[in-house]
């Protein structure tokens, strides 16, 4: 662009009409190309976001369902004091589940990236179970783990387990469900990071008499940190807002913040409280991510997220 302009000026000529048209097109093209995405963001992100924030400071009549902005910020301290424990629990469950997925998927993706002959095949094998709907898979776990079903029922009949033992309706069931359901979100970014590591760096470390363990801890692990970061984000953020696992696999003491938001929106029409909870969750996530990226560095992250 710059160059074109300069040649034209040097020649001391008015740019021909055709080229002037061209220049206009060039100036506009980034906006035209970005237009659909921009429109998408405005309609499906900005408008709902503003609506949600606005709803959190509204007062609603639960009979007529008319809502009016009253600048009533009281919902925020209210829901925080009432559901603070649930927030902590959600973060705890999501965090534990994310750690589990990291521990489970690191060796597998490492093996696929470094050792496997048919990488695409094994990657596909890792993902095939996730072609089945999320809810169906979770319900299947509910069915398998039911108190008297094939697993626990058999063990109880053999008197291995006491009659009262149950897995469903415990925090562990919820954590396991989340870990299981979010595995691909961890495995894929990890794989991408590991796959990208330059093999010559490993060879160089061996040449410098690094043992395999040292080569792993000093070369592979540091180089895979952006992948771990991306995996953590992609898993932890949606997992902390998840409500399906807690709904299907959890009990009365395992509700996550997503369940509260869902109930407040649907069962008890309390839109302001539900919106306030959503806003708090979102802000918490944003602050958390900002801090986290300061620690692990964000420059290379764009490549992975």
């Amino acid at each position: 662009m710059e160059q074109h302009v300069r040649t034209d000026l040097r020649g001391g000529l008015e740019p021909p009409a055709e080229r002037r048209h061209n220049r206009l097109g060039r100036t506009l093209s980034p906006y035209l190309l970005g237009g659909p995405a921009l429109l998408w963001l405005v309609v499906f992100f900005l408008v709902p976001l503003v609506t949600m924030v606005s709803l959190s400071i509204q007062t609603c009549d639960s009979f007529t369902l008319a809502c009016k902005v009253t600048w009533h910020f009281g919902e925020f301290p209210n829901v925080l004091s009432e559901f603070g424990g649930t927030f902590v629990r959600s973060l705890l469950y999501a965090g534990t589940a994310t750690l589990v997925t990291l521990i489970v998927s690191f060796p597998v993706t490492y093996w696929i990236a470094f050792r496997a002959k048919r990488k695409n095949f094994f990657l596909l094998m890792l993902l095939v179970p996730f072609f089945v709907s999320f809810v169906i898979r979770t319900t299947a776990w509910q069915f398998l783990l039911a108190d008297q079903a094939i697993l626990l029922g058999t063990l109880k009949n053999l008197h291995v387990l006491p009659e009262n033992f149950h897995i469903l309706a415990t925090g562990w069931a919820v954590i396991a469900g989340i870990a299981y359901n979010y595995l691909p979100f961890t495995a894929l970014p990890l794989y991408v990071a590991l796959e990208r590591i330059d093999r010559r760096l490993l060879e160089a470390s061996y040449d410098l008499y690094a043992s395999r363990r040292i080569a792993f801890t000093r070369v592979v692990l540091p180089l895979s940190i952006p992948g771990i970061f991306a995996a953590f984000l992609l898993t932890f953020v949606p997992a902390s807002g998840d409500y399906v696992n807690a709904f299907i696999l959890g009990g009365t003491n395992n509700l996550m913040i997503g369940n509260i938001i869902q109930t407040k929106f649907l069962t008890l029409p309390d839109y302001p409280a539900a919106s306030a909870l959503s806003v708090i969750l979102m802000v918490m996530m944003l602050v958390g991510i900002a801090l986290y990226s300061r620690v692990l560095g964000s420059r290379t992250i764009e490549e992975y997220v």
């Binding site: 503003v50 609506t51 924030v53 606005s54 709803l55 400071i57 509204q58 007062t59 009549d61 639960s62 009979f63 007529t64 369902l65 008319a66 809502c67 009016k68 902005v69 009253t70 009432e82 559901f83 603070g84 424990g85 649930t86 629990r89 069915f143 039911a146 108190d147 008297q148 079903a149 009262n164 149950h166 469903l168 309706a169 959890g250 009990g251 009365t252 003491n253 509700l255 369940n259 509260i260 109930t263 407040k264 929106f265 649907l266 069962t267 008890l268 029409p269 309390d270």
Partner: protein
Amino acid sequence: MTDHQQPVDPALWRGLTQARTSRRGFLRAAGVGAGALSLSSILAACGTAGVSSSSAAANGVGSAEWWGQQPETKTLNYANWPYYIDVAHGKHPSIEQFQQSTGIAVDYTEPINDNQPFFTKIRGDLQAGNYIGYDVIVLTNNDIPLGQMIQLGWAVPLDHSRMTNFAKYASPLVTDPSWDPGNTHTMAWQSGYTCIGYNTKYIKEDITSIQSLFDPKYSGHIGMMGIAVELGAVGLLAIGVDPAASTPDDWARAAEKLNQQKPLVRSYYDQDYIKALKSEDIWISMVWSGDVFQASAYQGYDTLKTVIPEEGGMLWTDNQLIPVGVENPVSAMTFMDYVYDPQVQALIEDYNAYVCPVPASKSIIANQLKDPTVADSPTVFPDAQMVARSKPYYQFQNASDFDQWNNTFGPIFAGG
């Protein structure tokens, strides 16, 4: 906020709506003109009006003149709760019969698991005056959405000239009910009890009292309902208070009792409690009478049993109504009245075993369908003892009343 204190007057809300819309429109125009809106006015513009011009009465919808103009159509979309209509060989015989005799194709679906969530889903379309995809929906008298549909003008007034079976056969239990005087907007589908269901495989004693739901012996295997009106009513019965005559002080005491029970409870369910009861995850639960009857009589779960406890069973009624924006109103009326034919009702009742709205079906179930279990069941055709044990629900007076109930009982199942 002050409007909370007053009984709802539809006209008032209509007035507010119109003013509000124009204000919003003005803001929008101003925004375009000025090029930008300040943050505060953007947020303020997001308020929503409760009622809209789709209100039935405002447009003459449901008047005799309106009904006269409605064409007969050959389709009907019906939304009901699950486990509620006769099933034989994967089909619904009562609907098959209807299709053959009238030529109206019925799309019978079961999307309703709970009043509030269903209402939340259809509300936007109702407000905009759109067709919600259903010509008939079924809502319960104990929860607030039924009242909202009627009072906000979103239920089409019925055509009484097309209610011949209803006029002739409907039980006094469902004619001219307190929640819809003169049946102007609704015809009952079924009534039923919210009572106790349990599995005799695990619970050897005879359950007679609601206190068994609070028994630590069954810890981890007790099911309760995560529906504020139901949970609250059972809590009130448990502390010995008649729900219909209860006060906010009673509510607080009932909530305390329910909170103490919480560690024993497996989960707070909606319609899915029946699955947990069948899979034996829960042994004793708050139930809706017909579900357990069907499971034990027809589906092989013969250790399941229902009981109306001595403290009483909550009697509710599910009501068929026509939402505004309806596309097939004549078909809707025809079907709603068709189920009051004693022969047809016998088919439906013999399957769902709730409280029958057509007493004349009793002899048909006993003699033609040869199913004395249903015909003689006191929870299907209530006897004097059952009638004495039937408790009505608390009637909400206004929005603040309803909010207080929800704020009292909601945190039990939606609390940290």
